[in-house]
Amino acid sequence: MWTYNKVLQYPVNIKCPNPKLAKFIISQYGGPDGELAASLRYLSQRFGMPDQNSKAVLNDIGTEELAHLEMVGSIVHQLTDGVCPEELEKAGLGAYYTDHGVDVYPQSAAGHPFTAAYIAAKGDPIANLQEDLAAEQKARATYEKLIDLCKDDPDVLDPLRFLRQREIVHFQRFGEALRGVQDKLAEKKFYVANCSKKICNDNECM
């Protein structure tokens, strides 16, 4: 189970609200390659992992992603905090304000609400870990695009750089986990394939 720690993983202290940036950054909260999708993806996949290391990696990275979700939510909150509805509308957040006010709602930059379709859990450890490797790269790419858009504000840039860096570290860990799983499944397959094939040939599995 989880307990809450009353501290952000990396500080977020934005002095100048900027709803335009919030509109883009919210994608990392509830968008296709966002932290919510990442966290739920890993925490859902851990149940089906075949070895100790991959279970631990998915558990722990899935947990860290929740900390990142909180950071991104804090960035969005601080970028829109105290901004008047007119300014929000000018920044393209008029529709957002109508439905969600000042809450941080999980949606993509284009305004699509979060969907479980972002959570790839295929029931196959290799496919899942390959998915996770791609997810980390996509999240890194998204952060890099956001960093391009936020160049003028070091307060926003700093936590985004931290988050980008974490994607790279997670990619590394998933790569290591994948190699372990491949080794493990290679051992297992040899035995299972022979066994099941023989049984099927004997029509005993019908």
């Binding site: 851990r46 290391n53 279970k55 631990a56």
Partner: protein, 157 residues
């Protein structure tokens, strides 16, 4: 734990060494909690809640074979019993915290929270030294974190 007895005073928490961790007040959830009847609310000043206080579920905890700490040798506590006590204390703390969020001045609840929090901290420390880490924050010489079973694997730990 003896101090916890006789605390069934409608402030919501009761320690009972004879039964499992159960919700005993079956009136809950009471959709009309805030207008719950006030009979039986005469618990003196012990919980700071008077009159219109919501009726809360009563939890009790089973600490079978776990006597007062000073008379209980570490070896007599099984792993299951230890984790069960940790689970009970953790849950009691969650429940107290949620209650305190809306009743910050309830000294009785704060007192219980303090007691359970200390007990949980010590018990977790003891457990982790023997059976490995419960969180990644526990210092160690060998990385036992990856040891199975995980909680979702019927290990019940």
């Amino acid at each position: 734990m003896l101090d916890n007895e006789n605390r069934n005073c409608n402030c919501g928490y009761m320690m009972n060494n004879n039964s499992n961790m159960t919700v005993e007040n079956l009136d809950f959830p009471n959709t009309d909690a805030l207008s719950a009847n006030t009979s039986g609310m005469s618990c003196g000043n012990c919980c700071g809640m008077q009159g219109m206080a919501p009726k809360l579920p009563v939890y009790s905890y089973k600490f079978t074979n776990i006597g007062p700490e000073e008379t209980c040798l570490e070896k007599e506590i099984t792993r299951e019993e230890m984790i069960e006590k940790i689970r009970c204390l953790s849950f009691a703390i969650v429940e107290l915290a949620e209650y305190l969020d809306t009743h910050v001045d309830d000294e009785k609840a704060i007192c219980l929270h303090k007691e359970y929090a200390k007990e949980l901290r010590d018990l977790k420390d003891k457990y982790q030294k023997i059976y490995g880490p419960l969180t990644i924050n526990f210092p160690c010489n060998k990385w036992r974190w990856i040891e199975e079973p995980w909680p979702w694997e019927r290990g019940n730990f």
